[in-house]
């Protein structure tokens, strides 16, 4: 085992590289131990670099001192990916937040990893473009974090997830070398290592520069809010809309409890009596959008929709989205803690799995709240609880496992967009065989043979050589 206290020689070396941006204060270290999940660890040292060269030198120093390192963006991850285990050095990219170049000829922008997703889109607005992946955490999550978790978002239903919007990535590899994965050509030669890196959750190196693709803002947008007095009707309407051959830009669902907490925060006129609402957005050329709206209305009518509200202007549209995008945080209005799952199920099984989720929550005496990307079947069942209640965590875990089992049995997968991280690592065996996982381990080892980069994440055994960093989620990692 590596010693627990920050060793002075390493800190001295890091200070010689980045000065007082290498931190080891007691209180400050505690601030880089958590992300948006319920897990918590503790770094040995926190580094706040401002350039690729600094990241490279920090990685070099870590290697010389045989100390693992872990990249951190904005710390909004929901799978514990940025939670330090095994006493690593945290390399936080937040200060690397420059938009380096907007290249409209190639329709890309080169950005540093710490640029906030929404900041980029806001800056592009006057040019008529945006960055399509729009996680609900958009206002705060970093592009580096989006790349590392291959984030999705409401509008990824039509536009595709992060991987479709990244052309090239400059990476500091775990051995300290800098390389460029991918390029700006439409169909690069050789293996798609760029694609492999996206979603690797910091286990294959640190992204220090990213060429993101720019998407043109649609000429016409319509946002509809449909309310249903039975959540099953809402869920069935989702499949029916897609079955009509229509791919809305976004198709989101919220259940009764979600509507209540969200409305308490935004006052957007969400129907608090409804059992469920669908937030549907259509975009494109005016004619197509208009006929899309008709299709949605027709299908919704056939599924006993209550009220159909069409946002009158941009302000109303923004307010409705503000509600949806703040839903997770607003859950704290019911209980102070939540545990969020991220399974994907075939759309046709939505009703069945949703019913199971409610039943499971009842069984374990927990509150389930559902707010999710219905269009692609990406469920986000939230189990709300109060961590101060004795024994509640065991119930939360058991219920979580039951939900995952139900989703996988319905033909689904473990994670739609939040990644595996630490939290879902030990569930990988439910989806993959031993052989599958060994193969994945080999891929990881090709990038990081000695297991320095974000050890103990994603794969149950960690990278096979990283055992020395401690095998399990540390005791007390649950808060």
């Amino acid at each position: 085992m590596v010693p627990v206290s920050p060793d002075k020689p390493l800190l001295d070396e890091l200070r010689s590289i980045i000065g007082d941006r290498a931190r080891a204060g007691d209180f400050e270290l505690g601030l880089y131990g958590k992300d948006g999940s319920v897990l918590e660890g503790r770094p040995s040292i926190v580094c706040l670099p401002v350039s690729t060269e600094e990241v490279q030198q920090i990685v070099g120093a870590c290697r010389r001192h045989e100390r693992p390192f872990i990249a951190r963006g904005s710390g909004t991850g929901l799978a514990g990916g940025a939670v330090p285990v095994g006493d690593p050095v945290v390399i936080a990219t937040a200060k690397m937040n420059k938009i380096i170049e907007v290249d409209l000829d190639n329709r890309v922008a080169w950005v540093e990893p710490g640029v906030l997703n929404l900041d980029l889109t806001t800056q592009l607005k006057p040019l008529g473009f945006h960055f399509a992946p729009d996680p609900s955490s958009q206002q705060v999550c970093s592009i580096g974090g989006n790349v590392a978790t291959n984030s999705g978002g409401p509008h990824c239903l039509a536009y595709g997830v992060t991987s479709s919007h990244v052309a090239a990535i400059e990476v500091v590899l775990p051995d300290g070398t800098v390389t460029l994965l991918g390029d700006l050509t439409p169909e690069p030669a050789g293996y798609d290592l760029r694609g492999l890196f996206i979603g690797s959750e910091g286990t294959m190196g640190i992204a220090t520069k990213i060429a993101v693709r720019l998407t043109q803002n649609p000429p016409e947008v319509r946002t509809l809010l449909l309310d249903f007095s039975d959540v099953r009707d809402g869920a069935a309407a989702v499949s029916a809309i897609i079955a009509e051959g229509l791919i809305p830009a976004a198709l989101e669902m919220m259940d009764h409890r979600a509507i209540e907490v969200v409305e308490a925060f935004v006052n957007a006129g969400y129907p608090t009596e409804a059992d469920a609402v669908l937030l549907v957005e259509l975009d494109g050329l005016a004619g197509g959008v208009a006929s899309g709206v008709e299709i949605v209305r027709r299908v919704a009518d056939a599924h006993r929709v209550g009220n159909v509200r069409v946002a009158a202007d941009d302000a109303e549209r923004a307010l409705l989205w503000k509600g949806r995008k703040n839903a997770f945080g607003a859950v704290a209005r019911i209980k102070p803690d939540y545990y969020l799952h991220d399974t994907v199920v075939p759309r046709g099984k939505l009703v069945e799995v949703l019913e199971k989720v409610y039943r499971i929550a009842d069984e374990y005496d927990l509150i389930a709240i559902n707010v999710f990307h219905a269009g692609d079947g990406n469920l986000h069942p939230i189990l709300a609880y109060d961590a101060r209640e004795p024994g509640v965590l065991e119930r939360v875990h058991a219920a979580g496992k039951a939900i995952i089992t139900a989703s996988i049995e319905a033909g689904g997968v473990l994670s739609g967009e939040h990644g595996i991280g630490l939290e879902k690592r030990d569930y990988m065996g439910m989806l993959f065989s031993e052989h599958d996982m060994t193969t994945q381990d080999l891929v990881r080892e090709a990038f990081d043979p000695d297991g320095f980069a974000n050890p103990l994440k994603v794969l149950p055994s960690g990278s096979r050589c990283s055992d020395s960093f401690g095998q399990h989620v540390p005791e007390g990692a649950w808060v």
């Binding site: 505690g30 710390g75 945080g329 102070p336 803690d337």
Partner: protein, 386 residues
């Protein structure tokens, strides 16, 4: 670092209510200019938790807490409804009472705010030094008037709260506000020296005892039932919080009578003279204590819209960095925060800017921005027409 024992005494429900989602980070001015977790609302709450669980703090902790502007932009942004402002006030009060967080010289500085005689005298000295060019320019003080004349009451319909620094340095603004209120058909009266200071800066500094003393004193200066109008967003926010601060029936009743002057004006707009033909483009800087604390920034827009073309800044109400005494105690951070605001103002391409809070006015002016109180512009334009 040396640790000392402290009990912050924050409500445990409040502490637990933050889910660490981070959605407040981009709305926090100090996070925006540092990108450091310790300068973010989420970080500060986590620090409070650490301090409460261990019962220990050190100098690092104190510095992190002191670097918060207390703008409460994080409260508006927080979907979980975390009451950050009161948690920070509790923290500061515990620090002030249990540690040497507020040294004696600072305590005296705050004290003077409640003593109009010393404040006026001091201001006169400053004004003279300023005239003689004897003040270092890096102090970035506004032009301080030497002689101001008295405010003359015109009736008993409404009170106008005058405050401490604002009354000593910006009495002309009060005069403009008075004229607008009178044009709207009401007679204005002024409190006596009892109401010299609302105590907002004291609360922010953790000097709760002093703040409560000033609150008691201020309340006595406003007998009767007439509405109490305030033309300083920071003071207005504080007066509206007397109910919570003193938790007495009288204090709650008092707070009910307090209105930001624009809140009162929206219901008296029709009485104002008609608008001039060509309305200038004016950007509105929402003071945090109007937007995030009083949640009453809309009335400013409604009142202004009668005379000008109001332009909303694109930074979603991010703080300008003034923060009462903050701009003096943390000049570098305050200036960096102001740079962002100036960027937003430049993008708005306007003739002039307004802000309904004296602290923001002074801080922005020191940064080279042409900015006035909204009602100074209204006063100008309505007189032009009559």
């Amino acid at each position: 670092m040396k640790k000392v024992a402290v009990k912050l005494g924050i409500d445990s429900e409040d502490l637990a209510s933050c889910v660490a989602c981070g959605l407040c980070l981009p709305h926090c001015p100090t996070y925006r200019v540092t990108q450091e977790e310790s300068a973010s609302p989420r970080g500060r709450i986590a620090l409070m938790r650490q301090a409460e669980t261990t019962g220990l703090i050190d100098q690092e902790f104190v510095e992190f807490m002191d670097a918060c502007v207390q703008c409460r932009g994080c409260e508006t942004a927080c979907p979980a409804g975390v009451p950050f402002g009161s948690m920070m006030e509790t923290t500061r009060e515990a620090l002030a009472e249990q540690t040497r967080y507020q040294p004696l010289w600072r305590r005296w500085g705050y004290r003077i705010l409640g003593c109009p005689k010393i404040l006026t005298l001091g201001s006169k000295v400053l004004a003279v030094l300023q005239k003689l060019n004897l003040l270092p320019s890096k102090l970035a003080l506004p032009k301080i008037p030497l002689l101001q004349g008295r405010l003359v009451p015109s009736g008993r319909d409404v009170w106008l709260f005058t405050g401490c620094v604002m009354d000593a340095w910006m009495r002309d603004t009060h005069r403009a506000v008075q004229r607008v209120i009178e044009a709207a058909g009401a007679g204005v009266r002024f409190p006596d020296k009892q109401a010299a200071c609302c105590g907002a800066l004291h609360v922010h500094a953790g000097l709760g005892h002093e703040a409560r003393r000033l609150a008691e004193r201020t309340m006595e200066a406003f007998p009767g039932q007439a509405p109490i109008l305030v033309d300083s967003a920071g003071c207005g926010a504080q007066l509206k919080e007397y109910g919570r601060l003193l938790d007495s029936a009288a204090a709650h009743e008092f707070s009910q009578r307090v209105l930001d002057v624009h809140e009162w004006l929206v219901n008296h707009l029709d009485a104002l003279p008609p608008a001039h033909a060509d309305a200038p483009r004016i950007a509105i800087q929402d003071p945090c204590h109007l937007r995030h604390v009083q949640q009453s920034h809309d009335p400013v827009r409604v009142v202004l819209a009668r005379y000008v073309e109001p332009v909303i800044l694109d930074d979603e109400g991010l703080c300008c960095g003034a923060g009462g005494a903050y701009s003096m105690l943390h000049a570098d951070t305050a200036a960096a925060v102001r740079e962002r605001k100036i960027g937003s103002i430049e993008r708005a391409q306007v003739q002039e800017v307004v802000s309904a809070n004296p602290g923001c006015l002074l801080h922005l002016r020191a940064g080279g921005v042409t900015v006035r109180h909204p009602l100074e512009i209204v006063d100008d334009l309505m007189r032009k027409d009559t």
